[in-house]
């Protein structure tokens, strides 16, 4: 009986192997570029999970308070900037005010962590792809997963503020995930572009924080888009809305609070188009040089 089973198992294995012979022919050619392949990414799904798991575990290993730290940083920024914005707007420091700042701040922090982590992800993991082959796009994607977990944890703050402020919920809230996705697209697209430059020019690690610091004040994080646009000459309006985070943050505020969060729908649409443009540029640029990374690291 055992022999019989072993035999069938053997022939089954052999059969499988001959099938895979046809499927798995790999051709390696000269050239520095490669292309985006979803099939290839799915094949390395377990690597994707394990890299994300590693980054997440390592971040809070040997930290006494552990994951609580994921809440501390956003809480402090929300308290500080919520207070400042209410002072400048001459408004009361009410929970309503804070919840407004919190929604924008959390989304901005998601963007900023994805942007900066993705732009450093390739050089930080050079020790991996200089020894083993895998599609390098796995690295920045796993970085997103880690940032997303932090973001989901920090959403607790927003939910608490929502309840304290007694905000009502519209059907719009169903749109919220779309704008979280848009934020991820923004961080990922721009981050990929910088990650590629970073391979050759390490100046990127100095430039990214500068862009982020400036970017926060050029986005409707502390103040609303209305606040900015009312104080700008008309010709600057378009420039302001070329910032892809304007669409994401205003859209998110619209989803949460409804009303007049979106100043002008045409500006809003321009901003979203810029997001996708950046994503396409980032991915194209990344794959144009993907195979040469290891020679420059």
């Amino acid at each position: 009986m055992n022999i019989f089973r072993a035999l069938t198992f053997q022939s089954f294995k052999r059969f499988n192997f001959s099938i895979s012979l046809k499927q798995d022919k790999v051709i390696i050619n000269a050239g520095l570029g490669s292309s985006f392949s979803l099939k290839e990414i799915l094949r390395y799904k377990s690597l994707l999970n394990n890299l994300a798991k590693r980054d997440f575990l390592v971040r809070y290993k040997q930290a006494f308070a552990g994951i609580v730290w994921a809440l501390v940083k956003p809480t402090i920024s929300i308290l500080v900037f919520g207070y400042i914005s209410s002072k400048i707007n001459n408004a009361e420091s009410t929970a309503t005010n804070f919840v407004y700042v919190a929604s924008a701040m959390l989304l901005w922090q998601l963007f900023s962590s994805i942007f900066s982590d993705v732009s450093n992800s390739i050089i930080n993991n050079a020790n991996l792809f200089s020894k083993v082959y895998f599609p390098k796009i796995i690295i920045p994607i796993s970085t997103i997963l880690v940032c997303l977990v932090d973001f989901l944890i920090s959403l607790v703050i927003l939910i608490v503020l929502f309840i304290v402020a007694g905000q009502s919920i519209h059907w719009h809230i169903l749109l919220a995930p779309l704008f979280i996705l848009l934020t991820i697209i923004n961080g990922f697209g721009i981050g990929l572009y910088f990650a590629t430059i970073n391979v050759k020019f390490r100046d990127v690690k100095f430039i990214v924080p500068v862009i982020l610091q400036f970017g926060m004040y050029a986005s409707p994080v502390i103040f609303s888009t209305n606040y900015y646009l009312e104080r700008m000459p008309n010709w600057l309006h378009w420039l302001f809305c070329l910032n892809p985070m304007v669409g994401a943050i205003d859209g998110f505020k619209y989803a949460l609070f409804g009303g007049n969060a979106i100043y002008d729908w045409s500006y809003f649409i321009v901003s979203i188009c810029v997001s996708f443009l950046f994503l396409i540029i980032g991915i194209k640029y990344f794959f144009k040089f993907e195979r040469s990374f290891v020679d420059y690291i």
């Binding site: 192997f17 895979s20 051709i27 050619n29 590693r54 083993v132 040469s292």
Partner: protein
């Protein structure tokens, strides 16, 4: 592609561009500012570059189930070839076709993270090497048993001894099941017993299960034991490809495997002086490319002293290919004046087994080293072609030191 070729390599070349006026890193802020400016200038101007062909027009085919040993000197292009085959770096020209799943093992423990536990690292490393979660789950117990670290499975690997670390790392790699396995000289780590276990495991994998293996090593014994085909690279081009014994024979006869005269690189900062040439000779002063196992040999080191050197000592060491220091010896301290000197170290009392050993030389004055040479001089002890003259050496594969022990022997009844 011929019917049973699993890998086909056609006209493979890899060019590296060396930047001639590359700016060196500086330690000072001022230096860094100057370098930054120079870098910017270099970007604007056209850089002076120099081509270097790490591989040039290499073509071969490997059949399914072949175990190919890749040999050649350092810089012959062995590692570059493996890196291109394993898709780490792209070729400059040429084409490779292969069938099936390929895994490469250019380093043990790629991606190991010190803060993660043994268990977490098994999953991480396994997935980096291309195993699915399901495969790792299935192999998990086997991996743990092979690595002998059951008790420390949940301890962060940074607390492991280096032996445990290597064992765990190799255990994961050894349980890969690709159709094609590429192995660089990763077996040169770990203790001898574990190495034997690894070679045994690779043997099982290739012979028993019909996998195709490409294996780079400087250890001709290991290669001859494991491989059936050989690929001999010389300065980036393919010298020969064929049956392993023929290829190893070519390699050893070419004299490339070892030399009898070594020019040492001049140290960057000159102080008291420097050693510049090392000769490996027999006791009559004839140069020796290969040292027959059991024979006496001598290293003659020629060095220049530039100024009076108080309390001069030269140290001489023999290191095995497993990075294990085997013997160290020092000259008697002496005060030297400027001039050309020669010093010999005779190896008359220690019989080492066959293999490649590297020689380490250190020059010091008043206990402070001013020159240290390693990875330049190597010796090759072999019994290829002729059996040992010494009747008391029966087998060269049963220990590192073959000095006969005093043996007393009498008939009792």
């Amino acid at each position: 592609m011929s019917s049973n070729a699993i890998i086909k390599v056609e006209g493979l070349s890899k060019q590296y561009i060396l930047n001639k006026n590359a700016v060196q890193q500086s330690d000072t802020l001022y230096g860094n500012l100057i370098n930054g400016a120079k870098n910017l200038r270099n970007i604007v101007r056209k850089k002076e570059t120099e081509d270097f062909w790490a591989l040039k027009d290499v073509s071969f085919e490997i059949n399914q189930g072949d175990r190919v040993g890749v040999i050649g000197r350092n810089g012959a292009g062995k590692s570059t070839l493996l890196k291109i085959l394993s898709r780490i770096t792209p070729p400059t020209s040429g084409k490779i076709e292969y069938i099936g799943r390929m895994a490469s093992l250019l380093e043990v423990g790629t991606g190991f993270h010190g803060d993660l536990s043994g268990r977490e690292n098994i999953y991480l490393n396994g997935s980096i090497l291309g195993m699915s979660k399901h495969e790792i789950d299935k192999k998990f117990d086997e991996i743990v048993a092979f690595s002998e670290i059951e008790k420390f499975l949940d301890t962060p690997v940074k607390r492991y001894s280096s032996g445990m670390y290597v064992r765990l790392a190799f255990a994961v790699a050894a349980h890969l099941e690709p159709e094609i396995l590429i192995v660089d000289e990763v077996l040169a780590v770990g203790d001898a017993a574990f190495q034997k276990k690894c070679i045994g495991k690779m043997n099982d994998v290739s012979k028993g299960e019909g996998r195709t293996i490409l294996f780079v090593s400087h250890n001709m014994q290991a290669i001859q034991k494991l491989c059936n085909k050989g690929l001999y690279l010389n300065k980036g081009t393919m010298h020969s490809y064929g049956e392993i014994d023929d290829i190893v024979g070519h390699y050893l006869q070419s004299g490339e495997a070892s030399q009898s005269e070594f020019k040492l690189p001049q140290p960057q900062e000159l102080s008291y002086g420097y050693a510049h040439t090392v000769f490996i000779e027999d006791m009559k002063g004839n140069s020796l490319v290969e040292i027959p196992v059991g024979d006496d040999w001598r290293a003659r080191i020629v060095f220049t002293i530039l100024k009076p050197t108080p309390h001069f000592i030269m140290g001489f060491g023999i290191v095995s290919s497993f990075e294990q220091a085997i013997r160290t010896s020092w000259s008697a301290p002496d005060d030297l004046v400027a001039g050309e000197y020669e010093m010999t170290f005779d190896n008359t009392d220690l019989m080492l087994t066959t293999g490649v050993y590297s020689i380490v030389i250190g020059l010091s004055s008043e206990q402070r080293a001013f020159q240290y040479v390693d990875n330049v001089v190597s010796i090759s002890i072999s019994d290829v072609g002729e059996t040992s003259q010494n009747k008391r050496i029966v087998n060269t594969q049963s220990g590192l030191i073959l000095n006969p022990m005093p043996v007393k022997f009498k008939k009792l009844s």
